[in-house]
């Protein structure tokens, strides 16, 4: 299978082989310093980045990835200045823009919007987050980072911590980790547990994730700790929020219970979940995780828009 001309709406659209090929290509693009050098694979292409809600980090890393490949970028970063603000439907916007670009990167607040866009678009659509449904490139970046930091994408003990109910990136990441033979442990406050559907999905592909609220116990044999933000707006009572947010704060004190080389990830922005003193640990990987957003998205854009990425044929020769 090839990703040429394909839509990427959810991680489940990608086979294991396709994911591995993407990670290899991303590794090549990242180079030894993790800093991609300018290339010209997509010199004749136009990428449209349509962001119907602001997401600075995701948008900038997609735009940077496109620019690094020599593509031109059109689009908008919020709907305020567009015809969408005048009441135009997403459907009409997609039908129009698909004639202006060779690929559409879409961020939209409604669940399932990327699937709808893919059905209407003349060109491939990449989902950059559709409501609470899916955000596949974030999961690929996380997975790539785990592989890069640990030297392997399999057999890791990964603890997912925080709001696992509404945090969509943890859903596809958990499934991805299970698919590749990792052990997943879910730690969350009561009421914010990983949905049963996701647990079942993981179990279908590999090991059934453990669920606990004993963070200290889970940390003991963890290779990777993935921390997500607990969103204040999910709690009716602010006192309740403070109680939970406080109990899941990662600092040097709690990390005494973990291995010294524990890899710690966070999709950012962080708001107090991780003490800044933790930044000094060698395994504090969130800025490298953010940096990896560019080569992983470069790999995806190239694979969709280019027949056989030159770099891969070089790498496999």
């Amino acid at each position: 299978m090839t990703l040429l001309d394909r839509d990427v709406i959810a991680v489940s659209d990608l086979s294991d082989d396709e994911i591995q090929a993407l990670l290899r290509l991303a590794r090549e693009f990242a180079g030894p310093e993790g800093r991609p050098t300018p290339r010209n694979e997509l010199a004749d292409r136009i990428v449209a980045c349509l962001f119907f809600e602001p997401s600075t980090r995701t948008r900038l890393s997609f735009e940077s990835a496109a620019h690094r490949l020599g593509a031109r970028v059109i689009g908008f970063s919020s709907p305020a200045a567009t015809s969408f603000a005048k009441g135009e439907t997403l459907s009409d916007t997609i039908r129009t823009v698909s004639h202006y670009a060779d690929l559409i990167v879409l961020r939209h607040p409604k669940d399932g919007s990327a699937r709808l866009a893919a059905e209407l678009s003349e060109v491939p659509v990449v989902n950059a987050g559709d409501g609470s449904h899916s955000h596949p490139t974030q999961s690929l970046v996380d997975f790539f980072t785990i592989g890069d930091e640990r030297g392997t994408t399999t057999n890791n003990n990964v603890v997912l911590l925080g709001d696992l109910r509404f945090g969509r990136t943890t859903h596809s990441l958990a499934t991805l980790l299970s698919r590749f033979g990792n052990k997943v442990t879910c730690v969350s406050p009561p009421g914010l547990e990983m949905p049963e559907g996701v647990i079942e999905e993981c179990a279908r592909h590999g090991r059934r994730p453990d669920q606990t609220n004993d963070l200290v116990g889970a940390l003991a044999d963890a290779d990777v700790l993935y921390v997500t933000r607990i969103q204040k707006e999910r709690f009716a009572d602010p006192a309740e929020y403070l109680k939970y947010a406080g109990s899941y704060r990662i600092d040097d004190d709690i990390l005494r219970h973990a291995e010294a080389d524990l890899t710690i990830l966070h999709p950012l922005p962080r708001v107090g979940e991780i003490d800044h003193a933790v930044d000094r640990r060698p395994g504090a990987a969130w800025f490298r995780q953010a940096r990896n957003g560019v080569p992983v998205r470069m790999a995806l854009l190239t694979s969709i828009l280019k027949e056989t990425p030159q770099i891969l044929t070089e790498a496999t020769r």
Binding site: T89, L90, S91, H108, P109, K110, D111, G112, S113, R115, L116, D130, G131, S132, H133, G197
Partner: protein, 150 residues
């Protein structure tokens, strides 16, 4: 002598064994009456089944033979319904409704944030389980069960 609650029809379609109270919804899903149509449509609610097995609704549509694909659209609302195509007062064809694999435009997605609620697109679900009935939105992957759709 048999007493008819709804008089027999000469030609057309009879939908029998609809769950009590669901006949209006059945007509709605089938788009009946069609705008401008003069076909007589009769409807009986809460009819005794005669076997002491409770009640049912019946719908009779005169001078129109519904296509099988049209009829299968009501499978979600009336899973046990039977269809009789009537020609000259006789049952020419009879079948029970089949639940299709894909259900388009019959029910709305119940996820309030689903894109299909705010865009000009028909809802579309895949049947993931028949008994008990479970369907999944093709767009947002939200899952609906029998109670939610009927």
């Amino acid at each position: 002598m048999k007493e008819f609650i709804v008089p027999p029809i000469r030609n057309g379609t009879v939908i029998d064994h609809i769950p009590p109270g669901k006949s209006v919804r059945v007509l709605e899903v089938l788009g009946i009456p069609r705008p401008g149509s003069t076909s007589i449509v009769s409807l009986a609610m809460n009819v005794e089944t005669g076997r002491g097995a409770g009640r049912k609704d019946i719908v009779k549509i005169e001078d129109r033979e519904l296509e099988r694909e049209e009829l299968d659209r009501i499978a979600l609302i009336a899973p046990g319904a039977t269809i009789n195509i009537i020609r000259n007062y006789d049952v020419a064809r009879k079948h029970t409704v089949d639940l299709p694999d894909t259900i388009e435009g019959v029910v709305q997605c119940q996820n309030p944030d689903c894109v299909t609620l705010s865009e000009p697109v028909a809802s579309r679900f895949q049947v993931t389980s028949r008994d008990p009935l479970v369907i999944r939105c093709d767009y947002c992957r939200h899952v609906l069960s029998q109670e939610a759709v009927a």
